[in-house]
């Protein structure tokens, strides 16, 4: 695999401890008086398939705090599992974090978090926090992104942009769970706003686009047009480009059956639908977080079995 960027690193072995150096020059706007100095986190990961061993290796790794990756672990099928750390323990007001993920042809990468992504209360003068993902999955490659829940604290202002491009026969499992806040502390929809944007494309054609703005004080989440009686929401995108429509119709029917099994009208509902091409989406809403965090892996395993012939255990957590 060709190294990414203008400053290719030596190949990092799976066991190698990361040296978090990043020389990237960035132009940041000046911070407002009284606000936190802007933190510009940066993480760039490149995965490559090594034909001789049949394994995926983490080949490119650049990072700047608070984002950090310690090492890659091997999965049961020769893929690479990486835990994305946020050394701040969460996203602070004014943080600008960029993650660039390149999965080379034939490689299999799995990303997870080390815990819930906490979106902390910012100072009034802080700029909104921003996290931007640019993801490219090469021909015949697979990326699985299985993070923990996003928890917006009271007052949080956060924008997340995710742009994923898929090459021919590229696969994707990408899930997200959004909590209403720190429910155990009595914080429920106490954040200011979340903007969640996601675009998945294949050959320049959009497969799925989300443009969500959650603004509890201006647009009640409890409206039946939004969450109604539910508080947590989850989504899972399952894609593999180039598969015939009938395969997706079959998988949709199978996962819809699972959705029916897992749905409890008074506590949790699931639905499944095909995208315009090359994939499907699973959506879940629940009053509590547990049914979603327990249900998503069921859909993931079932879809993985059908699309890649094998289930894997959920990624182990490290702290």
């Amino acid at each position: 695999m060709q190294a990414l960027g203008s400053e290719p690193r030596e190949e990092a072995t799976e066991e190698e401890t990361a040296a978090g150096s990043d020389e990237r020059e960035r132009q940041e706007q000046p911070d407002a008086p009284g606000s936190r100095p802007t933190v510009a986190g940066w993480l760039r990961l490149g995965f490559g398939y090594e034909r001789a061993t049949g394994r995926t290796r983490l080949l490119v790794q650049e990072q700047r705090p608070p984002l950090q990756v310690v090492r890659a672990f091997s999965t049961d099928e020769g893929g690479a599992l990486v835990h994305v750390h946020n050394l701040s323990g969460g996203v602070l007001g004014g943080d600008r974090c960029e993650l660039v993920i390149e999965v080379g042809a034939g490689a299999r990468a799995m990303l997870t978090s080390t815990g819930a992504t906490r979106l902390y209360r910012p100072r009034a003068e802080d700029r909104p926090a921003l996290q931007r993902w640019q993801v490219h999955v090469g021909a015949g490659a697979l990326l699985e992104h299985l993070p923990d829940t996003l928890i917006p604290f009271a007052g949080a202002r956060y924008r997340q942009e995710v742009l994923i491009s898929l090459e021919e026969d590229a696969g994707l499992f990408w899930w997200e769970i959004v909590a209403p806040g720190r429910v155990a502390r009595g914080e429920c929809f106490a954040y200011e706003w979340l903007e969640l944007l996601l675009t998945i494309t294949s050959a320049g054609c959009p497969l799925a686009i989300e443009r969500f703005r959650l603004e509890p004080h201006g647009r009640s989440p409890f409206s039946l047009a939004r969450l109604g009686p539910y508080r947590y929401c989850a989504s899972l995108y399952v894609c593999r480009t180039g598969l015939p429509r009938q395969r997706w119709a079959d998988l949709e029917a199978e996962l819809a059956g699972l959705a029916q099994e897992l749905s409890r009208p008074d506590g949790c509902v699931w639905g499944v639908g095909r995208l315009p091409a090359d994939g499907l989406v699973v959506r879940g809403l629940a009053q509590e977080g547990l049914p979603l965090s327990a249900g998503l892996p069921e859909f993931w395993r079932r879809a993985r079995l059908r699309l890649y012939g094998r289930m894997l255990p959920l990624p182990r957590k490290i702290n």
Binding site: E195, P206, R211, F212, L224, R226, W270, G271, G273, L275
Partner: protein
């Protein structure tokens, strides 16, 4: 009514407020295009509402609040794409128009994550483009109609309706408001079949929600003017659409 002989003609009410630049013929054309009885198949779809009713979430009591929020989310998205379709009429080249038409339809398809609602929108758009064949002649319309005939030629209703109004030269704001009015009327008609909602109550709601329609019209035009993307977050309705095929009994198409 003609003025009585010998009396000066009545001046009519003052023309303050919204002043539209529409020819009488355009008013009639808009009335026909935005008639809730336009045979494009809209009455066959509930866009997820049937599931919400079946699960006893959507009731007559909660309907007005639901519609207000639904219009500000889904209505805004539809309104912006209607406007984008309307603005395509400014292109003189059929080739360029078809290129932009395809891109906009692909984008709207990707935004409509629930397959059932996406396909309903495409089917209604195709029917509309088919329906207006012979109504008037325009090379650009013919090009889009040919695209719509292809299996992969997604043609969403909002874009098709917008393009038609643009080609007819019907002022954008009036056309957009009328389109949203038609959408709301269709939702109310579906609710009349699903809920114990009488005609008087339905018509009252349609009347009372007009200010919301106009506010969404202005929001959509702001998005169009600023080149901004509209937000839409209607997860429960989307789930209703995703789960609709699995209801035990259904009045509407899945």
């Amino acid at each position: 009514m003609a003025a009585l002989l010998g009396e000066p003609p009545l001046a009519g009410p003052p023309r303050d407020g919204l002043c539209l630049d529409l020819e009488p013929l355009q008013v009639l054309q808009l009335l026909q295009l935005c008639d809730s009885a336009l045979p494009v198949g809209g009455s066959a779809h509930s866009f997820g509402l049937e599931t919400l009713v079946a699960e006893e979430l959507l009731t007559v009591e909660t309907l007005e609040e639901f519609l207000r929020a639904y219009l500000t989310e889904a209505g805004l998205l539809e309104g912006v794409f209607f406007g984008r379709g309307w603005r395509l009429a400014a292109l003189s080249s059929p080739e360029e128009l078809v290129l932009r038409w395809r891109a906009l339809n692909a984008e709207l398809s990707a935004l409509k994550l629930a397959r059932e609602s996406r396909q309903a929108s495409i089917m209604m758009g195709r029917r509309l483009l088919h329906l207006v064949q012979g109504w008037f002649s325009d090379e650009r319309l013919t090009s889009v109609q040919q695209v719509a005939l292809r299996e992969d030629g997604a043609s969403h209703y909002a874009l098709a309706a917008g393009l038609l109004c643009g080609l007819l030269g019907i002022e954008e704001r009036a056309a957009l408001a009328a389109f949203l009015h038609q959408q709301l009327a269709a939702v109310l008609a579906a609710c009349q079949r699903l809920l114990p909602l009488g005609q008087r109550r339905a018509m009252l709601l349609l009347w009372q929600l007009k200010p919301v329609l106009l506010a969404v019209t202005e929001q959509a035009r702001d998005c169009l003017e600023r080149g901004e993307e509209p937000w839409q977050w209607t997860p429960l309705v989307e789930l209703g659409s995703l789960r609709h095929p699995y209801l035990e009994t259904r009045l509407f198409i899945s």
